[in-house]
Subunit: 145 residues, 2 copies
């Protein structure tokens, strides 16, 4: 029950792009370095973010990547789901016939409630807000839970 590395890295890239001065277009190598991601991996993530309509790229000498949406309109949940697909804490939360026990299983509604609690937090955090906080100290930095 853990976020994929790809989703974590996608969030890093989105926050980084949102924090740059307008008109900046870092290339793949610069994004890999900023996100501490290998270049091969960053390429795949950029493809997914482009497919989701969150970034676009320009070719050429001054080419590179930039956001194609306002970072106020994109949440942490949006970015995670662009990479991982819809959040389903348990297979039974996939709509339809994903589990024959839905009608009688008392755990089903707890999984749904836990998923809602989690996604509510991720939906509140816009990329713009996180980019604005980007270089301030993080209060939970050494925490865990």
């Amino acid at each position: 029950m853990q976020l994929t590395r790809a989703a974590d890295y996608a969030v890093r890239i989105m926050i980084y792009l949102a924090g740059l001065p307008q008109g900046s277009r870092p290339n793949r190598a610069a994004l890999a370095e900023a996100g501490e991601i290998t270049e091969a991996f960053v390429g795949k993530i950029l493809q997914s973010l482009a497919r989701a309509g969150f970034i676009d790229s320009q070719r050429g000498m001054k080419g590179g990547f930039s956001l194609s949406v306002s970072p106020d309109d994109v949440t942490l949940l949006d970015v995670v789901e662009a990479i991982e697909g819809p959040t389903r804490l348990n297979a039974c939360l996939v709509p339809g016939d994903s589990c024959g026990r839905k009608g009688s299983c008392p755990a089903h509604r707890v999984w749904a409630e836990a998923q809602d609690a989690m996604t509510r937090v991720l939906r509140r955090a816009t990329i713009a807000k996180l980019a604005a906080e980007s270089y301030t100290e993080c209060p939970a930095a050494e925490g865990g839970t």
Copy 2:
């Protein structure tokens, strides 16, 4: 970011055992059938639950498995963590040096907050409570989120 099948099945087994009349000791085949799990897989899950101290087994003709703890004292989170280990929504939530960006990353505290929101729900749901609800209709049955 999805629960493993093993954890889902472990929850099914715990709820099933908690709902049985006192003194019942179903065998592995009966637990596999009740949980709709293959016998090979149920064996592995029973080992993990026994290792966590939640169930024990008796050999022989009248042998089988039963809870070795009060179902009031075991939560959905306990069962999930017995199978998957401590819940870490993102790798950065592992204490220590799991991510060098903890001190500056604005997403870190959001992952922590989302994890707390989710685990809080799972910690509230005891196996005893779920077993008591076991055969009543589930309000979220057809939902998803």
